[in-house]
Symmetry: C2
Subunit: 223 residues, 2 copies
Amino acid sequence: VKTVGAFIFDQMTMLDVLAPHQLLGIHPEFQVVTIAATPDPIITDTGLKIVPDYSVHNAPDIDVLLTGGAGDMVGPLSNPAVIDWFRKAGEQAEWVTSVCSGSLLLAEAGLLDGYRAATHWAYLPFLAHYPQVTASDERVVRDRNRITAGGVTSGIDFALTFLTEACGPESAAMIQLITQYEPMPHGPNGHPRTAAPEVVAAVTERFEPLAAGLVAFYAAKAT
Amino acid sequence: VKTVGAFIFDQMTMLDVLAPHQLLGIHPEFQVVTIAATPDPIITDTGLKIVPDYSVHNAPDIDVLLTGGAGDMVGPLSNPAVIDWFRKAGEQAEWVTSVCSGSLLLAEAGLLDGYRAATHWAYLPFLAHYPQVTASDERVVRDRNRITAGGVTSGIDFALTFLTEACGPESAAMIQLITQYEPMPHGPNGHPRTAAPEVVAAVTERFEPLAAGLVAFYAAKAT
């Protein structure tokens, strides 16, 4: 049984990491543990309270490093103990993975230097602050042992892609059927390249205050 | 702001209810709270530890009743305090909703009598134990103020359908774009009607021990 270490933090967008927690966690070859900056419960951006299994100070060795993202990533990005743990855990892990803006954390720890990586569509400009990372607009990107994915709901696609790559298509098929993944069509509003312009405008406006902290974070790094 | 009361319990399949927690919780018109049988933390089927916001004994009035399911639903189904809370909360709520085998809980509380309802494909035979409920194999079913959905990953489709019905298509479009819901194709293994026979056989075998408790529960009810 391989251990997936899922990093969790206050104000996280929990679906990023909990969709893979569910899909990998029911697979017999994986056990998922949650790891936070401290042992205290964290509260997600929609108010869910999660008790971490470990903190970065007592986390076990992990085989798969996984992180999700958040609207405002500055908390974990600016925590040296967190970035240090990512660097060490990522160097030892068999797989280094992320969903949504979680790829910024991998990039900050240097784990994506020389790799192609995905992120939430609205956070591609932030990934561009790491010149050694090749940002991609694809939904799931595998580059050697790095697998990174786009926004929030792509965590399901990430998990099935990961299972296919790590265990083979039979594993992915079994988990797909158990979790009944046969998505309904919901029209073109899942990505700005196809969404209605007024929807893109409304959502872009909504992201601006959320991302203000990141703008300041990268401006300070550049000076 | 309307309150969504999400029921959580030990050994739950957390994605059922946490996908809607994420998608509805980021919508400005909704606040999601978690409600468990007792105030103690619950542990999901993949080992996630969640601290509930309320127990059924001190839960606030809710506008939207939401529950997910589990492989083995006997714990909550056989807990009179839980079923009693469902009955009262469901009678007062504006919307009564479920994902996955959570519809068995709504049915047990009598909340689906005279309604059409969905559930996880493998749990349709259990929903048939409620003769006043019309079980449906659709992914998301709306029947008046009841919205019920199929297995696990249908929680995202449930949430977007609910937003469309409760707030209009603009709300659903905004949340779809924020969460980048543009699923990748993963082939036919998302439902037994299209999946490879050997995948269906392997998964059916896996569900058997999980569902053994439910078989005994309904056998005892019938006598």
